[in-house]
């Protein structure tokens, strides 16, 4: 296998600046794992097994707050459903790749990897693969390191700092950053109101109801907007 070192180096240098905004995210996930009461190694294993910040934070926070596993798993999976779009968008580029990479590549297909490789679909297959692996491996190794760091420093930080409150702040940030049109406001309000009204449902299953109603509300609002 011929590896083009300059392409690999390009992948690493493109990935590093995109990783910077993910650093606080990874630290907060580590803190959430330390705070959740779950086995630390199991919590940290989510960084390699799930490898997706928002879904990991959702899963860990909900499991830690006593939600039923089905609600925690269901909500985390809904969060990651957006990856279907990435899979569909990159499918043509992957058809020119060897079988081993068609199986390994999707494992690394997170938001930032997609953002970097989606603009190079026409690239020669060897170069595409080297670049993809360099970007993916950079994110993967840094992500495992940063979440581990969060787990280590979590217990050292005094409890009265209430650092666990960083979790809802981070979710509010993700919410605000994702809103670029009014149907998304409708989706957010629908999700929030339904979750609030369904709070009495056992084991936080109201959260799943909120997610589904929010998505449907946004879809209808979009249809109304398009006339």
């Amino acid at each position: 296998m011929s590896v083009d070192r300059s392409v690999a180096r390009q992948g690493v240098t493109d990935a590093l600046p995109l990783f910077v905004p993910a650093v606080p995210f990874g630290l907060v996930i580590g803190l959430a794992i330390a705070d959740s009461g779950m086995n630390l190694l199991v919590g940290w294993s989510s960084s390699s097994i799930v490898f997706a910040g928002a879904a990991q934070l959702t899963l860990i926070t909900l499991l830690g707050s006593g939600a039923a596993a089905v609600a925690a798993v269901g909500t985390a999976l809904v969060v990651n459903a957006r990856h279907l779009m990435y899979s569909a968008a990159l499918a043509p580029a992957f058809q020119r790749q060897p079988a081993w990479f068609r199986r390994l590549g999707p494992y690394l297909l997170i938001d930032q990897v997609f953002a970097l490789v989606a603009v190079r679909p026409e690239e020669e297959p060897d170069r595409f693969r080297t670049y993809y692996l360099a970007v993916g491996a950079t994110f993967w190794s840094l992500w495992l390191a940063v979440t581990a760091l969060g787990i280590v420093i979590g217990p050292v930080i005094p409890e009265e700092w209430n650092l666990e409150f960083a979790v809802p702040i981070l979710f509010v940030g993700l919410l605000v950053l994702g809103i670029d049109r009014w149907p998304k406001v409708v989706a957010a309000l629908g999700g929030a109101a339904t979750t609030y009204l369904a709070a009495g449902l056992p084991n936080r299953t109201g959260l799943l109801a909120g997610a589904i109603v929010g998505i449907l509300a946004g879809t209808f609002a979009e249809r109304y907007r398009d006339g």
């Binding site: 799930v50 969060v79 999707p106 494992y107 979790v167 605000v176 009495g200 936080r204 109201g206 929010g214």
Partner: protein, 102 residues
């Protein structure tokens, strides 16, 4: 054990989402209706999560003034700076300051 199974199920599901079109449905398109729906996953779920984290299991609001102020400021900073680091920094600082003042 239960937690590990939950992590494994989410990991497997995420891999399926990321791989299904690449491995199995390369010539299929996602129906337009589904594509539109996927756009609203993030706002719907994030808003639902925030509400779930701020209410107790009986639906009572479980936050005080420091939390509410911090979330409003955090949201405003996210809107202005588009940056998670500033959002976290501003939100937590406001939270600590308001808490100390009360």
């Amino acid at each position: 054990m239960g937690d590990l199974i939950a992590v494994l199920v989410v990991g497997l599901g995420s891999y399926l989402f990321r791989s299904i079109f690449i491995l199995a449905l390369a010539n299929r398109r996602i129906p337009d209706q589904v594509l539109v729906g996927l756009r609203f996953v993030a706002p719907a779920v994030m808003a639902a999560l925030v509400v779930a984290l701020l209410t107790d299991s009986e639906g009572n609001v479980a936050i005080g003034l420091p939390e509410a102020t911090a979330l409003l400021v955090g949201g405003a900073v996210a809107q202005t700076t588009k940056n998670h680091i500033w959002t976290l920094f501003a939100g937590m600082t406001v939270f600590w300051v308001v808490q100390a003042l009360l």
